[in-house]
Symmetry: C2
Subunit: 690 residues, 2 copies
Amino acid sequence: MLLNAERWLYLPAVALLVAAPVHADEGMWLPNALPLATLQAKFGFQPTPAWTEHLQKSAVRFSTGGSGSLVSPDGLVMTNHHVGSDMLAKLSTPERDLLATGFLATSRAEELPCPDLELNILWEIEDVTARVNAAANGLTDLSAAGAAKRKAVAAIEDESNTASGLTSEVVALYQGGRYHLYRYRTYRDVRLVFAPETAIAFFGGDADNFEFPRYDLDCCFFRIYEDGKPLVPTHHLAWDVGEGKDGAREGELVFTWGHPGSTNRLYTADHVAFLRDVEEPLSLKRLWRNEVRLASFMGRSAENARIAREDFFGTQNGRKATQGLVDALQDPALVAAKRAEETALLAQLTGKPEAARFERGRAQVKGSLEASKRLAADYFALERRFRGGDLAQIARTIVRLQAESEKPSADRLPEYGDANRASLEAMLYSPAPIYAALEVERMTSWLSSLAEDRGLDDALVSKLLAGKSPRARATELVHGTKLTDVQARRKLDATDPMIAFVASIDADARRARKAWEDEVDSPQKLGYADIAAARFAALGDSVYPDATFTLRMSYGTVQGWTSETSERVPAFTTIGGTFDRAKERAGEAGFELPQSWLDARAQLNTATPFNFVSTNDIIGGNSGSPIVDVDGEIVGLIFDGNLDSLAGDVVFEITRNRAVSVDARGMLEAMRVVYGAGVLVDEMTSARKP
Amino acid sequence: MLLNAERWLYLPAVALLVAAPVHADEGMWLPNALPLATLQAKFGFQPTPAWTEHLQKSAVRFSTGGSGSLVSPDGLVMTNHHVGSDMLAKLSTPERDLLATGFLATSRAEELPCPDLELNILWEIEDVTARVNAAANGLTDLSAAGAAKRKAVAAIEDESNTASGLTSEVVALYQGGRYHLYRYRTYRDVRLVFAPETAIAFFGGDADNFEFPRYDLDCCFFRIYEDGKPLVPTHHLAWDVGEGKDGAREGELVFTWGHPGSTNRLYTADHVAFLRDVEEPLSLKRLWRNEVRLASFMGRSAENARIAREDFFGTQNGRKATQGLVDALQDPALVAAKRAEETALLAQLTGKPEAARFERGRAQVKGSLEASKRLAADYFALERRFRGGDLAQIARTIVRLQAESEKPSADRLPEYGDANRASLEAMLYSPAPIYAALEVERMTSWLSSLAEDRGLDDALVSKLLAGKSPRARATELVHGTKLTDVQARRKLDATDPMIAFVASIDADARRARKAWEDEVDSPQKLGYADIAAARFAALGDSVYPDATFTLRMSYGTVQGWTSETSERVPAFTTIGGTFDRAKERAGEAGFELPQSWLDARAQLNTATPFNFVSTNDIIGGNSGSPIVDVDGEIVGLIFDGNLDSLAGDVVFEITRNRAVSVDARGMLEAMRVVYGAGVLVDEMTSARKP
């Protein structure tokens, strides 16, 4: 699953860079800078401005960390089941387990309002590079320059927000080589319409995750409402399914329009080695720990299993993705190739001033990595991975919201700026259920992880534990706080134990964040800005920036691949293959088909294509992206990459890297035959033109 | 499960110490130093020398890391299923999966010879303290003194071995306060007689492991053969089951005779804090990692699942035990109590020279902990946790066996001494199956873990990987070596890639081991010897040494407990309760009863006691210990401790710490009714007197 892992957190943008020379089908392209020449030369295809606008305004970004698209004239939004599953969990109770049973609203009245989902559609893009850069004019101190630019960004966002009424966000592309202001139409009345059972959405479980051949109905449908009525969108996608339509074909040129979360393809070789030796191994350790702890927690009761399932699947998914990346990184050839690329670049720049600029940038990045080793423990513990559960997050938001509200918007921590206020409040006052047992487990786990890493006598750990064991302390905080009640979140009650707990470390957390921004983030960005300038000089500007969880287009063709062990993997699977796979792995976890499928078997057209692979360049965050043909019509729904795609964070390798989609034909066949959702299928595929 | 986790490795004895004042029912007592006065005073029970000898010579130590006992006049040995499971796995094939199906030999001819199991029965004990200490007389250098003692120990073992024909082993008790020479009768013709299915032996799986109430038939029976015929033992245990027998009763005084692996109850407070903050968190991280990686490996195919199951269960078990210990340690009260004990001890020694001796020892231990932080990475990677799979272990044994054989026995690494030669060869030339897929996974995992910990550019990692990725390197080594063939192990072929690989790091590994012995182990032992002397001065000698995987007696009474949340946990479960539990957790992993039990349900006496708890002080290694009454008759079979017992490594706390046994009555009922093993039951319970 291509979930964007860090969705809960405010993430200062990581190093985002201009790309190296682009391989075939590589690239996550900006909507306002598509690779027109390449598409023309290679495929004889020339997107028109109307085509581009249609795709852009049909694409939807999910606040839960994925992508989607408008797919009917009545505001239906298609995404992956695993993007919607967070809402499915929040809409479930011990008696109504939507992840287990699936859901179909048989009328508009039955559609279920989501407690805190926000959908965004990119409406306008404006280049604000000059204004952001001007803010730092004349400032030589790195951290002062960084702070001035952050302040300018906040001011631009606030102004735009007020003036346009659209959610406004400045995106640092090419690591400050460009700043673009993105304006979104935002929707918060979103209702669940249809979801299949997890058993078929995630058929094959952890074993088949990131693998192919694959047989997953990883889809889910919501509807946007506006003023209490279904949205009539200005744009929505049509389907390449039905009479006169041919669906995806082997070799066909296809496009994804979605929101890849983050890539690091233009990290320096030193930085990739740091990922390999320090950062990713640390992530893996954390994921291993969480996976085992959550499995233990879930083993204690059926209700525990239900309430922790979302956390658990997310953890397993992150672990498999990170393991794949580490496996790729631990081939010594990878960093060697990065070093060779740098040498070649420098050779190309011989005699130009950019050669020295590149070397200066590289050294600065290296210095920032050393600083990060020194500062990471505090920064991750207290700020970036502050992970004591939902109640602790809520308490921190309350504490900071009060403190930040007293400052002008541009001086605040960015996530508390006016432009983000509505999103923040939607999250803070969400009526989504909070489970005490899971909260105690999360807080215990977090406290215990700090004690493991820092020792029990560490000053911070002592302060957090207050003389108790992690579990005793967690129990006291979770059972003592009133924040489970949404009303109690509307004012800061300093006597609330969770509030007091979070307040007691807020100064430490802010200090750790500032140190990181000043000594790691700002120097690193400056270093990469130098490197980017050098790369531009050598390679021109026909390049794409690293992913930023903003809208990108990728192109590719539908095709299988030949594995490392010379096995030919075909491009398509069929609905019938699902039953074969279930039989082959009978009795193993993740391979039990839901009753609905067993019941509908005889009625299904087993030859219908079910999943397929293509060479599109995607990554976590692309989950739920539509995959369309040259007519902009839906042929499938992106939901995964194969194992070979997991190196995609740092390299794109077309030989074996594949994107995995649900085929539009299989999806509609299953909806109609297995789930009796013909009304929805008709709504999407009826004659009304987009 | 109380498995002794480190069974594959030669483990230099860890700090073993004289105990603090003993709490009620606390203690793992030496067979030649039972707490006679306490037993008399508290229970009015006085063991006779004959009683003691009978229990000692009925007790069996398993080379796979557990305990057992002789239980019939024809050499039947009872232990836990999870102690025998290593053999069950080695005797299985894809077609004959004994862990899944269980096994019953319906005649002696059907009993299955085990490939490399060694059973030892403690026959004689001799105090050799004076001779060992004399070897270091006049030596002031710590490492020289340590080496001289190790050499004296090897000489004593070799002499005894030659003179007596018995396997001879010098045990350092009270950390060198005493050295005892143990002589064992050793048996290597051991055959599998009966084992139930894992589904009932480990009913409840990881979820119920270390929990109670419990419903496990965790038993397994082997038979010792001598000269091709069943052993007629001089001692074996009778059963407190059948006519005129009353079995275990609530409140009854009961004893275990078994082989607790290791405890650290008399570590200094600094050392316990080191366990808490450094050593155990590192173990947990390794266990989390292995658990997830093995689960992934097993998910790839049914055959992978079969061949890795033993590793996986062992890892899960170790993880749950270690997590329980860390949870206990992370209560700040625990180390605080240890510090208070030390202060009290010093107060008691005021004015005596032992006060200074204690403080000196404590400082020396603290110094050794600092050294261990510096040396642990190399020592654990290359020597103590050299974990590249069975083939790599075999290759190392071959390489070292040749090098060590050229030296006098007393100068060798102890595991290559003459006294250990037969055991070593039994292991080295074992015909047990070796699976290439699992070997590649183990080697990949080990290489990858070093790369995670040290970085890919580390000199050792570079040497090990030889320019390849961990998986590519592992594949090349495993598929290139001839060591899967037992005959190929009889000579050192330097061109074999696995031999060459291991030989290339042997000097590094030996250097790391020597540094550890000189700078950590020797100073630590000396420090603890001082501390032990001080404790003797304050507390006398009515104390027991920490566990050493040698025979110990513990006593206690059959009784339930009241949980932290004030829930009363009764002492017994019944066979009928098993079916209730299966129903309650239907559909969850580990709770599916085998068909044999479902079929036999109507015939079983559901009121028969199945599992029970008692206050006996046990720990990993005690698995398979018989639990007997004052007549020395079997009332049960130890197989686990409860969650509260997991702090037992460092403290014994009688309020809630409980040992968990299979009740003898439930065991025999199930054998007779479910498995048709009446012949075996009759053999064990017939009139022939022990």
